[in-house]
Amino acid sequence: MRAGWSYVGRRALFALITILVAISLNFVLFRLAPGDRTSALRCQGCTQEFKAQVRAEFGLDRSVPEQYLVYVKETATGNLGRSFVTQQPVLAELWKPVRNTIPMVLLGTLFAISLGLTLGVVSAWRRGTITDRTSVWSGLLLYSLPTQWLALMLIFYAAGPLGLPTSDIADPYLAYENPGWWPELVDRLQHMVLPAATIGLVLFGEYTLITRSSMLEALGEDYILTARAKGLSNWQIVRRHALRNSLLPIVTLIFLSLGFILGGAILIETVFNYPGIGLQLYESVTERDYPMLQGGFLLLTVSVILMNFLADLLYFRLDPRVTE
């Protein structure tokens, strides 16, 4: 197993280096913008006091390489600067919306994974049947829908009949009534349904297609013929041999699609006015709150990198060949 641990070590090192690259890229991208962090162009409503504080904190009167080092150091210690709008630390400002986003995205993704994987497997198994064709076409269709548009369609055509709220994360009147945790939870969930469904539907299409073709590839392998020769039933072949092998590429793809999911979250939260990290980013863009934008971008990139690392670990668990 020593070879295995060196694999884990190397993937961890890669993740660390990638995070450093992401931090550097973040620095460069925002340096390329006109003006410095505190110029009138970029920090219109800032007080002189606030500007001076930012200048000192990030060494803006020093040379660019020195600024870079300060930036890396500050970032490493968790200081991502202060929001221009609220003048509060970025990290704390980001934490609130992130807490709102995670359950919503998780709900949608789990929905997509469970349904997409099932339908993909069934579809590959029943290749060429009506079931297969239906799931391929519906997968293609869902995969092709613009996320924001699907969200709008749900507002137009699903919210009314289902009696679901289309905006915000909670009913504002509920706070005055203080009815206890159960109605509040139900209210939260009701607000989550449509955003999560949008994410779920879009991903569901993608996952169905990926699972299907990955499964089909596995079913063409020689060891499936061996399994058939050994007298295993179709179900045993799928369960014991095809499934695990076809899951290998899917795991990577699901984790890799996290970047896509986060992008989707921006669009969805904007449509549903759902106070998550996506809406926060959208507002930072419209309000030109660069520190928040910079911090949000870094946070999302790092979370994608960590997810990739998780995928590597999972791959290591699933595939005995991964040691080199």
């Binding site: 020769a229 050994k230 295993l232």
Partner: protein, 318 residues
Amino acid sequence: MSALAVEDLHVWFDLPGGRELHAVQGIDLALEPGERLGLVGESGCGKTTAILAMMGLLPPSASVAGRVLLAGGDILAGGDRTMRPHRWTDIAMVFQGAMNAFDPVRTVGDQIAEPLERAGLAAGRAARTRTAELLELVGISGERQDRYPHEFSGGMRQRAAIAMALACEPKVLLADEPTTALDVMVQAQILELLVRLTDELGLAMVLVTHDLPLVSQACTHAAVMYAGRIAETGTTRELHHAPLHPYTRMLFEATPDLRGTDAVRSIPGAPPRLDEPTVGCPFQPRCDRAFGPCATTRPPRRTTEPGHLTHCHLEGGA
């Protein structure tokens, strides 16, 4: 009673456009326990298709006719339904690329034990013990059953594939080019193993190969296939010393011998297409002894010694 008998086996494949390819055109084989039969032929002659048909492993585009008798009972009559109970328990197979015959994410032992559990022969601890025994039988330490296929070398994987085939103590073993892609020395090891196992366990084995010398050395009997038919069957000695079919003789003439001095001659031309009906003898265009009836009449089945059969118009040997 023969361990395995094949009677008038035909296989067709559907081709696009409603056409058909008649891959196996009525072959007969019979093996006693302990016999090793080499099924020899060039690529595309139908030898692999024939043994896949004996295992019932053909794709849905295939249709089959004829009988496959295991100890006297026809297992082919009901198609896949009557085949399945016999697969691996009575008739097992060693595949060509042992490299790919194993699932890469499950241990070797797991995959050897799998048919044991399926057939209700052994489970849990008993299955592990049996798996270890099987591995020892093919010369691999039983402790290696927890290893994964990629941790085995090519030769070891082929041994493990043989162990897997023997799991349910079948009476018949089909081996499809078991040594192709292996080095000469490893090939010798595998052949030695197969010969020893058939002798010790009284297995009947069909060895499919394109390599005539291999059959001469490893098998007691041989069947030479050409264009979906059997050109000649007999003992390996009969085939080498007194071939009845010119194809058999010409194949030997095309094979260089380590210490031979005879000229090595290739066989001109190429095998016929199997998606069109053949008139007369399929080998006639390439045959150096073709005469009148060969082009028009399908050669009759003839025999000289018991068990030495041919499909050829020539009388008195090739």
